[in-house]
């Protein structure tokens, strides 16, 4: 389930100030086989990205069933795990991303609501 990198034109609305013009959101989604949970996670991620990061994100899906060695690099235990490689610092969001608000908080798209 390789997903082509999503690139779209830059939206005109206001973006978080730490992202400069050329930077984009580099996201990595770790899954293990095409389980319903993995599919849900991917679907949720895409929806969130389309809504909040349109045109600025890049999603890489890594199937650990195929490449188990890659689990070491990002210290993956839970499946699914979303890793925000860019912007720094690295953030990890585990679960099927069904709680949109927490995903936004986890990705620092939305400030933590106290």
């Amino acid at each position: 389930m390789k997903t082509p990198a999503k690139k779209s034109r830059r939206p005109s609305n206001g973006q978080p100030p730490e992202i400069d013009g050329d930077a984009r959101w580099n996201l990595r989604l770790y899954v293990a086989g095409q389980t319903p949970r993995s599919l849900t996670a991917f679907k949720n991620l895409k929806e969130i990205c389309e809504e909040y990061l349109k045109g600025q994100y890049h999603i890489e899906v890594i199937d650990l069933m195929e490449n188990p060695t890659l689990a070491r690099g990002d210290q993956i235990l839970a499946i699914p795990t979303l890793v925000r490689k860019l912007p720094q610092p690295i953030r990890k969001i585990i679960g099927d991303l069904s709680n949109t608000e927490r995903v936004l908080v986890g990705l620092d798209i939305q400030p933590r609501s106290n």
Partner: protein
């Protein structure tokens, strides 16, 4: 690739065990940890869990050709490699040889946001990959409970751990899972619920400011095992558990004898010395020469070419060698030849268990035939009487099981009855020598006697014990009409006796001479009497002879007269009457 060891079997098979290769542990578990199953190692911080687990893998890789995976949740691979390098384990070499995989799982709680359902498939995949990459048979998860603090959803973790243990079993790997000890329970998060086959508890207890490491098998389903607490050591060679408590009274009794190194003492022991494999207690007050007896014993063993171990808890090695040289015992040459080894330690350095463990380990490494422990009373500084006795019982059992002849010295304090041994161990001993200072006439002398010697017809006498330039000399104490005397009293008494003896001898000689003289006198008298008799006899005989001659002369004369008178009588008649007539004639004349 591992095989599935849980395929159904037609008949029930005994639980298979996997040897850990950790000295002592396999003995108390009767073969190791359950093969193909997870085992829980719990203990508080610093109890040695990680080291135990690591040694399990290293021994597996080096001895049993069983590659292993170490999944660490606490220490990085580099830290682990450095930590165990001091124990002589070269993890990097093992990793290069594909016998070990170190996987450091690092979870930063602050980086993680939880958004919905998840599982720990990533962990499974990582572990599975690590296992498959080297065909691992052994797995260590250290410390799995780190998951609980790293991930927020405890329910998910519990479900996943349950799945993990099942999965490990299916994989057929023998796994060790380390856990922190919790308050009032074995593990902080109750992992013992999931791993129910074998639970091992490591403990590090501090008593009287001395820490002792102990191990206990809390549970081992489907097999018998030692249930006691066993002390264990972590030293430069790694982990060693001491199964000393598991011995009984089933040791053999050799009939061979060994010399004590003191000829007279051997003589007191039926002329043969001690039984090999027996234990000897030498007790006495301070300065009575207990250590010297021990050194003699060691010296004799080394001279026979046997290996000997000297456990000294009071003196340093150099001190003992110097002191023994002053009485003519050269221990240094045995040391150079490698026959003798010293083990010097202050009793307060460690707890009793650790002492026992050290002694056990030193003996196992050196395998001596003779051991001297000088003195056992010092252990009372670190433990009470009961503990010390229990420890010594185990030590004696251990020594007997290896047929090691052991001499223990025991210091008796002046006030106590000498026969009341301080540590109550006399009943454990086969032979008991007592050395005591006997104070009389303003001097102290050493007396030695054998209080008991099982199976040996021993002397019941007190010997005086002298330390000379040639070692220990035993001298007969003076026992006679004046009582038992020792020291200068003995020598003066001996001198007195000698003088009296000489007197008596002289008197006897005089009597003898007198007798001789009497005999000579009587013999002389006898000769004189005989002479007198002979003289008298001769005189009488001469008189008789003369008389006879005279009569004959007279007869002839009468005859001559008759002839002159022309007597006509017959000659016979003449002769008959002649005498009468001659008498008449004589009268007439």
């Amino acid at each position: 690739m591992t095989t599935n060891s849980r395929r159904p079997r037609s008949k029930p098979a005994a639980l298979q065990k996997e040897r850990t290769g950790i000295p002592g542990f396999d003995e108390i578990t009767k073969g190791g940890v359950p093969k193909g199953r997870p085992t829980l190692i719990c203990g508080s911080a610093g109890a040695g869990k990680t080291l135990f687990a690591m040694e399990f893998l290293v021994r597996g890789a080096t001895i049993y050709n069983a590659p292993g995976v170490f999944m660490s949740f606490e220490e990085s691979s580099e830290e682990l490699a450095t930590n165990v390098a001091s124990l002589g384990f070269d993890l990097n070499q093992l990793i290069e040889d594909k016998k070990l995989v170190l996987d450091y799982v690092f979870i930063e709680r602050s980086e993680i946001e939880e958004t919905g359902e998840y599982d720990l498939e990533g962990l499974f995949l990582r572990l599975g990959h690590a296992i498959d990459s080297i065909g691992a048979k052994r797995v260590v998860l250290d410390t799995l409970e780190a998951l609980f603090s790293a991930l927020p959803n405890e329910a998910i973790i519990r479900a996943e751990l349950r799945r993990l243990f099942r999965w490990l079993k299916e994989k057929g790997v023998t796994a060790l899972i380390t856990c922190e000890r919790g308050e009032g329970r074995l593990t902080r998060y109750g992992l013992e619920e999931y791993v129910a086959d074998c639970v091992i508890l490591l403990d590090n207890r501090v008593q009287n400011q001395i820490s002792t490491r102990r191990m206990r098998i809390v549970k081992y389903r489907g097999t018998s095992h030692g249930t006691n607490e066993y002390p264990f050591l972590i030293d430069e060679k790694g982990f060693s558990v001491l199964p000393i408590t598991s011995l009984g009274l089933s040791h053999k009794a050799p009939t061979e004898h060994v010399s004590t190194g003191i000829v007279r003492l051997d003589n007191m022991l039926d002329g043969k010395g001690l039984y090999r494999g027996s234990s000897i207690l030498v007790s006495g007050t301070a300065g009575t020469g207990k250590s010297t007896i021990g050194s003699h014993f060691i010296n004799a063993a080394c001279t026979r070419g046997e290996r000997a171990l000297f456990f000294a808890f009071e003196e340093s090695q150099d001190q003992i060698i110097r002191n023994m040289r002053s009485i003519g015992i050269d221990l240094e040459k045995h040391l150079r030849k490698g026959l003798l080894k010293f083990h010097n330690a202050r009793p307060s350095s460690w707890g009793l268990e650790v002492h026992l463990a050290m002694i056990h380990k030193t003996i196992s490494d050196f395998s001596p035939l003779v051991v001297v422990i000088d003195p056992i009373t010092n252990f009372l500084a670190v433990g009470d009487r009961t503990e010390t006795k229990a420890m010594l019982t185990r030590l004696i059992d251990f020594l007997k099981s290896r047929e090691i002849t052991a001499m223990f010295t025991s210091l008796t304090s002046g006030g106590n009855d000498l026969e009341d041994s301080e540590v109550d161990v006399s009943s454990l001993m086969d032979t008991w020598l007592l050395v005591k200072n006997i104070e009389t006439n303003g001097e102290r002398n050493r007396g030695l006697y054998i209080l008991k010697a099982r199976g040996i017809a021993h002397s019941n006498q007190v010997r005086e014990f002298l330390l000379t330039d040639n070692g220990i000399q035993l001298v007969d104490a003076y026992i006679g009409s004046e009582g038992v005397l020792m020291g200068s009293a003995r020598s003066s008494q001996v001198a007195r006796e000698k003088a009296a003896d000489a007197d008596r001898k002289f008197a006897m000689e005089r009597k003898q001479r007198e007798l001789q003289r009497k005999q000579e006198l009587y013999e002389a008298q006898l000769i004189a009497l005989k002479g007198q008799y002979e003289t008298e006899r001769d005189a009488i005989l001469r008189e008789l002879e003369q008389e006879k001659e005279r009569q004959q002369e007279a007869a002839e004369q009468r005859l001559a007269i008759a002839r002159l008178r022309r007597a006509d009588n017959g000659e016979v008649q003449l002769e008959d009457n002649g005498a009468r007539k001659s008498r008449k004639g004589a009268v007439a004349r």
